[in-house]
Symmetry: C2
Subunit: 233 residues, 2 copies
DNA sequence: ATATTAATTTAAGCATACTTAAATTTAATG
DNA sequence: CATTAAATTTAAGTATGCTTAAATTAATAT
């Protein structure tokens, strides 16, 4: 029989484990590998702490780990990670659609809530939300069975040609200020916009949204993803 | 400048602190005092751990603590505790009314969520719920300013006379099975019921609910609180 | 091939809350 | 008043994840 320890140690362990697996899943390369230094950077902890924890995650069967080699998720780890993503994004959706929090705040709020939310709560929220496929920033939400909707094929806004019209289908959600700004100028999910002009001197872009013109930087435009509307010139 | 430690230590500290203050607030006597052994029992931890933590809570200004004396909350501790109660009960209300979770599950789910939920989220939920004064079990919900609605004056169900009609205004929410059972027989908040008979041989009570008769034990009846309806015999 | 640099691991120790066992203090009892 | 019991504190150590500094390994430059 397992030795019972105080619940605070279990909470601590679970939170850390979830954070590590989330970071590995999000920041691994196209071959599914990540370096320990990347994990340390993303989590703002020491390299040594990462080495320690990788040994434990390996022992728990969630990752493949050999010294000095890249780290990758096992099948079980993959499933665990996909479930964490699902929980996070459903919580974000709930906070955005039902609670009406500004979308630049939902990411951090969901980060805190996801550790305590039960599977039952997540499933009930999914039902309330009518089984959404994408979160407020356009990222796909895995289903209960782990099936991931396809990321909608999208074009970076800065790659759009002048004169074309498109709708916003995804934005990068890592920067608070970025998201606050773009929503303040009317750029949110499903917003329709037309590129009026590309300005060469600073690579900024002139857009028309609901008949109103505005100028956004190249940096901002490169973090917004759109789908062009068909049959328009 | 404060030494920065990893966020996991802060999370751990906050969770513990909140748990201690909640227990002190809930289980203190009518004079506002609690013994350390009571805290240890309620939290399933050792007496020594409690002594350690009490010193810290006192250092942080949340409690009055002298060795071998009873423990009590400071003004700041009281405010902190009332806010914890508010958050817990609004979360319970949200889970019950909006998410439609069974009321025997909302207590534990709220226990887990309350540590991560921000003040902003709690305030938004309160607004969505239209500023409720009582939680699903009938306990009062403090307002944002700390004002506590009066507990509705209520009678224990087992004290009701035969022939009288009443509505359920509060139930004790500490026992999972109890709450599952009474809701399965149709006894929830605001349920109207009539006491038909008190049986002497086992002190049980015969009730009529929606025209259906049922028998409940004295133990169950003593954990249900009602308000008699006026003008009926 | 060698030297240097960067990445990672190891070893020792720390942050927070807890446990166990022994000691101290208080309360209850005869 | 003495004794016993119960409550609480103290001291030493543990559970979990982390930090710092030194050592090891791998990658890179010459």
């Amino acid at each position: 029989m397992l030795k019972l320890i105080s619940k605070i140690y279990l909470i601590m362990k679970n939170i850390s484990q979830e954070d590590y697996i989330s970071v590995i899943y999000k920041h691994r390369d196209t071959e599914g590998l990540i370096r320990s230094t990347t994990i340390a950077d993303r989590m703002s902890i020491s390299n040594a702490a990462v080495t320690d924890m990788l040994r434990k995650l390996s022992r728990d069967g969630l990752i493949y780990y050999t010294k000095y080699k890249g780290i990758s998720l096992t099948g079980e780890g993959e499933e665990f990670a996909v479930n964490l993503v699902r929980r996070h994004r459903l919580l974000e959706m709930f906070l955005y659609k039902i609670v009406n929090m500004p979308w630049e705040k939902v990411h951090e709020e969901a980060e805190r809530l996801e550790h305590g939310a039960s599977e039952e709560l997540i499933n009930r929220l999914e039902e309330m939300l009518e089984f959404p496929d994408y979160d407020p920033h356009g990222d796909p939400i895995p289903s209960k069975t782990g099936k991931i909707p396809q990321a909608r094929s999208a074009l970076r806004l800065d790659y759009m040609e002048s004169g074309k019209t498109a709708v916003v289908v995804r934005v990068n959600d890592y920067d608070h200020e970025f998201m606050t700004y773009i929503s303040s100028v009317g750029i949110i999910m499903d917003t329709e916009l037309t590129v009026k002009n590309h300005l060469k001197f600073d690579n900024s872009i002139v857009l028309s949204i609901h008949g109103k013109e505005l100028n956004i930087s190249h940096k901002i435009a490169s973090n917004i993803f759109v789908q062009e509307k068909e049959g328009e010139a």
